[in-house]
């Protein structure tokens, strides 16, 4: 009797085991935690963003949200603040991306030299990237006040002696500087690993042909790291469009995008409307437009990249 039960047990075990051990069962079992979270915390919100964008929906009365077609989109496209916000986003990217890319490459070349203490410099250049945007913005707000040694120094190059983040002409540039300061450490690290893979004999051959250091840089280094440049440019472009923390920090108690909307971007535009004003429908429509802008830019960059290669 005992032997029989044992046999049944073993049979049952192996039957369970076959199911549990099948690729199908294990595959779905392993993907399940991810899929459950994804459906609830990505797919559903993603669809909601589109659905709400066609509704007159307020956070306080979401049950009574009603379908209003494209009205939110029409209102946004009629709002000249939105165009200003798009322009500001583009301005940040156009200023910050080339500067941080060039600076990243320059710093990578500097710490790739055969010199003492290059590890320390690498760390110094990289640390801004790992500190929080809020901390860096806070420090820079103290540094870029009217009359400090930093604003006076910039004054030598023709910049006004003003409190940068509170000045409508300088605030956006201030945000771009913050982004550059933190992002170029990342670009440096990415470039550095590429520089270390440039074959040494390329430079030796260049020297034999009498190429100057600048020519070696121009005709050996730059072409060699070209794929990395595309990566660095596309990553920082996308991140540049998503800047939020720095602007939130300089806006303090005022509306996002202070002073007087000078740093209002597509991101702060949707955040101000959707979350601060709780106008879920209007904010969602702005988010959808933001999404399409990002998609168009990603597409254009991909196209450019494919053409160049």
């Amino acid at each position: 009797m005992a032997a029989y039960e044992n046999k049944v047990n073993r049979k049952k075990q192996s039957w369970i085991r076959t199911i549990v051990d099948s690729d199908f069962a294990v595959g779905w079992l392993f993907a399940l935690p991810f899929l459950v979270l994804w459906v609830w915390w990505f797919l559903y919100p993603f669809l909601q963003s589109f659905i709400r964008s066609f509704q007159d929906a307020n956070f306080a009365s979401l049950d009574q949200a009603k379908f209003i077609g494209f009205q939110n989109y029409v209102n946004i496209l009629k709002d000249h603040e939105f165009y200003r916000a798009v322009l500001h986003s583009l301005e940040i990217v156009v200023i910050a991306v080339p500067v941080q890319t060039i600076l990243g490459l320059l710093m990578a070349i500097l710490v790739n030299q055969k010199i003492k203490g290059k590890g320390i410099f690498r760390t110094v250049f990289f640390i801004p990237y790992i500190t929080s945007q809020i901390a860096v913005t806070t420090v820079f707000m103290m540094l870029f006040k009217q009359g400090t040694f930093v604003t006076k120094f910039f004054g030598l190059f023709g910049f006004g002696n003003v409190t940068w983040y509170a000045d409508t002409h300088y605030a956006l540039l201030f945000v771009a500087i913050l982004f550059i300061f933190q992002q170029c450490g990342f670009s440096m690290i990415v470039y550095l690993s590429a520089l270390q893979e440039v074959p040494k004999d390329l430079y030796e051959a260049g020297q034999m042909d009498g190429a100057s250091k600048w020519e070696q840089f121009r005709y050996i280094t730059v072409p060699y790291v070209k794929p990395i440049t595309f990566f660095v440019v596309s990553v920082s472009t996308i991140l540049g469009f998503q800047i939020y923390d720095q602007i939130a920090a300089i806006s303090r108690y005022g509306a996002l995008g202070s002073p007087a909307g000078a740093t209002n971007t597509v991101v702060t535009y949707f955040y101000q409307n959707g979350i601060r004003y709780m106008n879920i429908g209007y904010g969602s429509a702005a988010v959808v437009l933001f999404f399409f802008i990002i998609m168009i830019i990603t597409f254009l960059q991909k196209k450019l990249l494919d053409d160049k290669e």
């Binding site: 991810f34 979270l37 055969k114 303090r252 979350i275």
Partner: protein, 274 residues
């Protein structure tokens, strides 16, 4: 042309020191200013004028309690990393080593999600969190972020490189596929899992957008959100704010110096693979 040439002269210390000072300056300024009194801001004063009182304020006042914010940050970051250490590798393993109907769809989901900026879903996530009553709670700050498609993608690349023989040998020893994963493959993935944890750590620790959206109660703030509120409240008191910056930045710096090598490797590999 001559000036440009100079930049690329190897062994040139001048430029690296200038750029280095430029980058170190904000940090040195912060550290220095955090030790002086308000009258001495932007002046150079001797060590006898220095004071710890700026730092003391953060440990004695309940309204802006840095130890409490630190604890909140540690809990939030800890939960997110543990979740990512379990959920991502499981999904990645399924995509890399198992053959089942629906796998292509899941892979497509991972890749497509990676490309969507989080802003896109922020408003509905906020609404969901609010409806669940999760505002100002660790649940709201962590549950939506327990997985990350980028890391699933990274880990999948690694698992593909693990030879099938390891899994077959484990199965000959009587392990199921589940057992083979947890006992054999998972420990093999130590290095990509460390990389993932480091990236997840700094991303979560420094995040402002999400915690500032989902918390409004100062007792539930994380360090970064708390720092921003301190900055707004005491804007004229530069030394106090600088002490706040130092206190909120020290933990991530300590973390960085411990894991510097893996950290930099992680960042550069994300670039090479990209």
């Amino acid at each position: 042309m001559k000036a440009k040439k100079g930049i690329f002269l190897f062994g040139n210390y001048t430029l690296i020191i200038i750029v280095g000072l430029l980058f170190a300056l904000p940090f040195l300024y912060t550290l220095y200013t955090s030790f002086v009194t308000m009258q001495d801001v932007n002046k150079i004063v001797g060590i006898s004028h220095w004071t710890f009182s700026n730092y003391k304020t953060f440990f004695t006042n309940d309204a802006y309690n840095v130890p409490k914010w630190l604890l909140n940050t540690v809990i939030m970051t800890g939960i997110v990393i543990v979740g990512n250490l379990i959920i991502n590798p499981m999904a990645a393993f399924a995509l890399a080593k198992l053959d089942f109907a629906g796998k292509k769809l899941i892979y497509w989901i991972v890749v497509a999600t990676m490309m969507v900026p989080y802003h896109m879903i922020l408003i509905p996530v906020y609404v969901n969190v609010a409806h669940l009553g999760w505002l100002n709670s660790f649940a709201g700050l962590t549950v939506p972020f327990l997985y990350q498609c980028l890391y699933i993608f990274m880990l999948r690349q690694f698992f593909i490189s693990v030879p099938n023989e390891f899994i077959e040998a484990a199965r000959l020893d009587g392990l199921t596929k589940v057992g083979a994963f947890w006992r054999i493959v998972y420990p093999l993935a130590k290095s990509p899992l460390i990389t993932m944890s480091i990236l997840a750590f700094s991303g979560t620790w420094n995040s402002y957008l999400i915690p500032s959206t989902l918390t409004s109660d100062p007792a539930k703030y994380v360090l970064v959100v708390g720092l921003n509120s301190v900055k707004d409240m005491f804007f004229e008191n530069t030394p106090l704010i600088m002490a706040g910056v130092v206190l909120t930045t020290i933990p991530i710096l300590v973390f960085f110096f411990i894991f510097q090598k893996q950290y930099i490797e992680g960042v550069s590999s994300s670039g090479v693979k990209g």
